[in-house]
Symmetry: C2
């Protein structure tokens, strides 16, 4: 796999490697929102939130539509939601592994 491609992918993953940004994506998956709607959901300075949005816009996951003073955000690539499913898969698999360890399974024990 090409080096450039790896970097491009890493950039996208990085944009999603934050609870805050994941929450934004999750919220936008339910429809268009403007900053002012998002702000109450995030206990942080609006400048910080704006920067998170910028990061998502930079990699092309989120797009904006300006309407007067407002700036409506929406998900441009809903396929990122399928990534969520996968992360759940990883989490569940890991949980199973932990369980096995506790209940005396064979996985990698000391």
């Amino acid at each position: 796999m090409k080096d450039e491609e790896l970097k491009a992918r890493a950039r996208i993953m990085k944009a999603l490697a934050s609870p805050v940004r994941l929450k934004i994506v999750d919220e936008l998956s339910r429809g268009e929102r403007c900053m002012c709607e998002l702000q109450p959901m995030f206990p942080m300075n609006k400048s910080t939130l704006s920067r998170h949005l910028t990061e998502l816009k930079n990699v092309g996951i989120v797009g904006e539509r300006r309407d007067g003073a407002r700036c409506f955000l929406r998900l441009l690539t809903p396929c990122v939601l399928s990534m969520f499913d996968c992360t759940m898969g990883v989490i569940r698999a890991e949980a199973r592994r932990q369980t096995k360890l506790v209940s005396g399974g064979k996985a990698t024990e000391t």
Copy 2:
């Protein structure tokens, strides 16, 4: 969505938010490998490579099988490969958007 869940997901995304680790995953998708096989592919100190592997192991994406002094790595959750497809989707969508901008499309122009 729960806060803990968001954090767990972000952890997984973060583990994949690095060209090096993406390359490792890509390589492991073609089969089990030992550190000594991976090393020649990565122009970095072996301790650094080891750390990247540790990170992938920590989130449960990669597992290890020890055989004597060697340590064979393998992909535990192949679904991460489907994430790759999605990143490609995002990259392509972004490329299309750029093209539109150049060719005089309507998207977000100044």
